[in-house]
């Protein structure tokens, strides 16, 4: 009887705890959704992301070790005779060649970045990718430069082939970059040939869609898409990608345009955080807002064109998103 009484007491305590935890969770979600990017919960999240950065960097080393182990496994399954004959002769050479190849690839990537930097006359800071998203629903990377290097939320991030994303939070030694392919990303864009404006959005499928383009504009495969800088979300005039598919024709309201992303999250290791670029400074625009596609405050488009205005505002009204 006493035990039953105790059970009932514990059971009701569990129910009370359940209610409390559910209420706390919902309250956190509500505050998070309503506060801006500078709100307390976003700040705590940013601090945690900064604290987790060294562990993510360790994970990158673990990942490389895993790849090495996989290669070793592949070697182990090869013919023992062949391996014995080649192992001694090739061991040192293989190591040297591997190292040299690594340096060559790194030099190639860095030279690509430098080329891009000089092409767009970018003033920025370069950094390395040290971590990737810990969950499936967000496409982010962690880079090893932070507020101590002048990196701040809202700055545009470029990979070796063009824009890859935007800084969403920064701590002294690291920063979180939301990739363009993230469904919550939105960048005001312009098609280079026709000057048609729209918004490039990511998706869960990893594709980039060009939306909000005037229906009467003709778009073709191969057209180059650049950031327009409207809304102040992304630095103006930087390469986003090229149109690879157009489903539907001009004047078709349901037309769907797919843009090839510059880089996959797994393919780039070095980036440049753009503080300013020649095209950007020429227009007087600067990267300051957040390019979230979600709702929030801040950012405005100052264009007389209605489509340009809507594109800029749609891409630049972030700040309150994830």
């Amino acid at each position: 009887m006493a035990l039953n009484f105790q059970d009932r007491g514990s059971a009701s305590a569990t129910r009370v705890l359940l209610v409390v935890l559910v209420v706390v969770s919902i309250a956190c979600m509500t505050v998070y959704a309503r506060e801006g990017a500078g709100g307390p919960l976003h700040a705590v999240q940013s601090a945690f992301a900064g604290a987790a950065a060294p562990f993510k960097a360790a994970g990158t080393a673990v990942g490389a070790a895993g790849e090495g182990a996989a290669e070793a496994m592949a070697d182990a399954t090869a013919s023992e005779e062949t391996l014995t004959a080649l192992r001694e002769r090739n061991a040192e050479l293989t190591e040297l060649v591997t190292q040299a190849e690594e340096y060559r690839l790194e030099a190639e990537r860095l030279s690509g970045l430098l080329e891009l930097k000089s092409k767009y006359q970018v003033d920025g800071v370069s950094g390395r990718v040290i971590g990737r998203s810990t969950d499936a629903w967000n496409q982010r990377v962690t880079i090893d430069v932070g507020t101590s290097d002048g990196v701040e939320p809202g700055l545009t991030v470029m990979g070796p082939a063009g824009v890859v994303g935007q800084v969403v939070s920064a701590s002294p030694g690291s920063a979180e970059v939301r990739l363009l392919t993230d469904p919550q990303s939105g960048a005001a864009a312009v098609v280079q040939s026709s000057r048609a404006e729209g918004v490039v959005r990511g998706s869960l499928a990893g594709l980039l869609y060009l939306e909000n383009v005037d229906a009467d504009v003709t778009l073709s495969v191969g057209d180059v898409v650049l950031t327009s800088g409207l809304g102040g979300s992304y630095t103006r005039g930087l390469l986003i990608g090229t149109i690879v598919r157009v489903d539907g024709n001009a004047n078709d309201g349901t037309r769907r345009v797919i843009v090839s992303p510059n880089e996959q999250a797994t393919s780039f290791e070095e980036v440049i955080v753009v503080k300013s670029a020649a095209a950007d400074s020429a227009s007087g625009s600067s990267g300051g807002g957040s390019g979230d596609a979600g709702s929030g405050s801040g950012g405005s488009a100052s264009s007389s064109s209605s489509s340009a205005g809507s594109a800029g505002s749609a891409a630049g009204n972030g700040g309150g998103g994830q």
């Binding site: 559910v22 987790a52 994970g59 810990t134 969950d135 629903w137 967000n138």
Partner: protein
């Protein structure tokens, strides 16, 4: 849950967090990143049906939200609800076979992943429910279930000490 079990469960939770940060991003398959924290919380709920606590899943969920980029509180809410319901269901339908806990693990991980997608959409993520289901919900749930399958015997071996407490005694942690 005695002190030894609490410590073992705590160590297991810490390892789940570490695996999530260090390993999970590097073993993603087709953009599906496994959720070690979810899998661990669910396995604990299944194996400790009578004495599964709510604080640990809440803390794990909150850490997942804070380390990742999702809305703070979303994963915490789902983990608390999922472990509570799963432990109750497990206590009711567990027939001593391995099939039942594994089936519940799969169903609950699918439910949590789908509801997490729904919460993200409610918080402003502009994606279609079908995309969320096909590209994230299903693959992630399957991956989580596989991780849970691997964790299950480890948790039974190292965390759960059957027969050390009176059955039916609920505890908070």
């Amino acid at each position: 849950m005695d002190n030894g079990e609490r410590i073992a469960a705590g160590v297991g939770a810490a390892m789940a967090v570490l695996l999530q940060v260090v390993v999970a991003p590097h073993i993603a398959l087709f953009a599906a990143v496994p959720n070690f924290m979810l899998a661990y919380a669910l396995v604990i709920a299944v194996t400790r049906a009578q004495s599964c606590g709510l604080v640990m899943p809440f803390v794990l969920g909150l850490l997942f939200d804070l380390i990742g980029g999702g809305p703070v509180g979303a994963c915490a809410l789902l983990l608390v609800l999922a472990t509570f319901l799963l432990s109750r269901a497990s206590a009711l339908v567990d027939n001593g076979t391995l099939f039942m806990p594994l089936a519940m693990l799969l169903v609950s991980s699918l439910a949590v992943e789908l509801l997490y997608g729904v919460l993200l959409m409610a918080c402003g993520m502009d994606v279609s429910p079908l995309q969320a289901l096909v590209y994230r919900g299903l693959p992630c749930a399957l991956y989580d279930a596989v991780i849970g399958l691997v964790m299950f015997p480890l948790v039974v071996r190292f965390v759960v000490r059957r027969g050390t407490q009176q059955p039916g005694t609920p505890t908070i942690l």
